[in-house]
Symmetry: C2
Subunit: 286 residues, 2 copies
């Protein structure tokens, strides 16, 4: 049995939205796909590449009668979009999103769709340096880990529909509570990214260090090359977990600084051993 | 004109020492190579792979009459070895080392060989996960950046000999003052390594995060898998530069934490842009 949606509304037709539309089309998982955007030009590209059948500048209108709504705007805009489309969505519509932070959005949605909980947040961890509907890829979600909001009060049918949606386009679904998700991405992605930026700036303060900068430096700082707008938005939408995790990181750095300053070989040895074990543990015993 | 040494004494015949012996032999750059170690078994392997011609457990004795002495022991032992061999070295002997930190060692050597300065520190940045003379590789130094101590009072002949030694085995020599070297490796290698360890531990505190840990996390924390003994020794031999750089990193992390906590989008944008530029600058405009 394969999931099928009669009318799907995709709000935001960038790389993620466009790829989802294309994935649904090529797998015959949807009847009509409506694409919503803020610019006619972007919508035209999404239609041209075959990601959407119809286009609209009006999110609420485009949600009328849809059985599935997927919000693919930047994370910071999702709460506003939720408020905007709430009155237009049918009571049986299933609503999800693709934002990389979940707690703020899922908490906001609980107020918008209080009961039954027809909003179920998602975070497909599809990494790509590309953006824009012109790069839509029907295989983008193939093998992609997708976190799906795990909420005890959630509408079971909506939760199943969201799970089936992602599995149907090839993703591997991992259910998780929104606040745990946010802490985990803060500590495995957001804080490492910020730390990489700090490390790069600390090194660059000494000038051109490239003669001594080996593979390790390149590896550690690689993520610092990401787009500033995206990372600013991530910081603003996952504020609490990132701030808490940065405090934690600062304390750990300060602790090692003390070990180094007092030349405590035993403590340093224990630190480096624990670091190896921690990495292996974080990566599931790799 | 190719450099040639009649008698070379290599103290410490691990991967770096063994590879240097083999590189000198295969390029006919040395007459006799004497290998010094603390264990007969290790010395026997070095001799078997052809890295050394003679072996000895007595460093001072093995330095008698040598025209080049290369100390390839762990960094923490170099000052002790210098004191031990000083009385035995001829006044024309050139002495160098391969330790990854330079200021403590070079300062110590200034006292041991006060004038003329026949000790010229080196740091060949040859990375390998392997260790032990059984992995000796005559091509290990091919294309390898090697920092050579730049000191205004250095004996010009000794400085040239050390430069020629490394260039003869294929390295790219970069002259640098020991304290600048130590700050640069602290900020491009040692502190990134420590930060990676802190990041891994911060993530592992949440348990098995591997479902959400993407390529970025693997990249940032990869160096945390290094050998604990080596990194402890690096911390103990580059104490000052590492401690200073960890304080700098902590301040940068705290500054971003404040931006995140107060939701300052403009400052965050500036931070992420500066991070991109800093990485490019550190890597020489890559």
């Amino acid at each position: 049995v394969t999931v099928h949606f009669d009318t799907v509304t995709i709000i935001g037709v960038g790389l993620l939205g466009g790829s989802l539309g294309l994935a649904l089309k090529t797998r015959n998982l949807a009847g009509t796909i409506r694409g919503v955007g803020r610019r006619e030009a972007t919508l035209a590209i999404a239609a041209k590449v075959g990601a959407v059948d119809e286009t609209s500048l009006d999110a609420a209108q485009a949600c009328t009668g849809a059985d599935l709504v997927v919000i693919c705007t930047p994370a910071a805009l999702v709460p506003k979009v939720l408020d905007e489309i709430a009155p237009a969505c049918s009571t049986t519509a299933v609503v999800t999103d693709v934002a990389s932070t979940k707690d703020t959005i899922c908490t906001h949605a609980k107020k918008t769709w209080p009961s039954p909980l027809r909003f179920v947040g998602s975070h497909p961890m599809a990494g790509s340096e590309k953006y824009g509907p012109e790069h839509s890829d029907p295989e983008l979600y193939e093998g992609c880990v997708t976190i799906v909001e795990d909420h005890p009060d959630a509408d079971a049918q909506a939760q199943n529909a969201v799970r089936e949606l992602w599995e149907a386009v090839g993703a591997r679904v991992v259910p998780m509570a929104p606040n745990l998700h946010d802490s985990m991405v803060a500590r495995t992605s957001h804080v490492p990214h910020i730390a990489a930026g700090c490390i790069a700036q600390s090194a660059a303060e000494l000038g051109d260090v490239h003669a001594v900068a080996a593979t390790g430096f390149r590896d550690v700082t690689r993520v610092a090359a990401g787009r500033a707008e995206i990372w600013r938005d991530i910081c603003l939408t996952n504020q609490k977990a990132i701030a808490t995790s940065l405090v934690d990181l600062g304390q750990r750095v300060a602790a090692v600084e003390e070990m180094v300053a007092r030349g405590d070989g035993e403590e340093l040895m224990a630190f480096f051993r624990a670091a190896q074990e921690a990495r292996a543990k974080a990566l599931g015993g790799e």
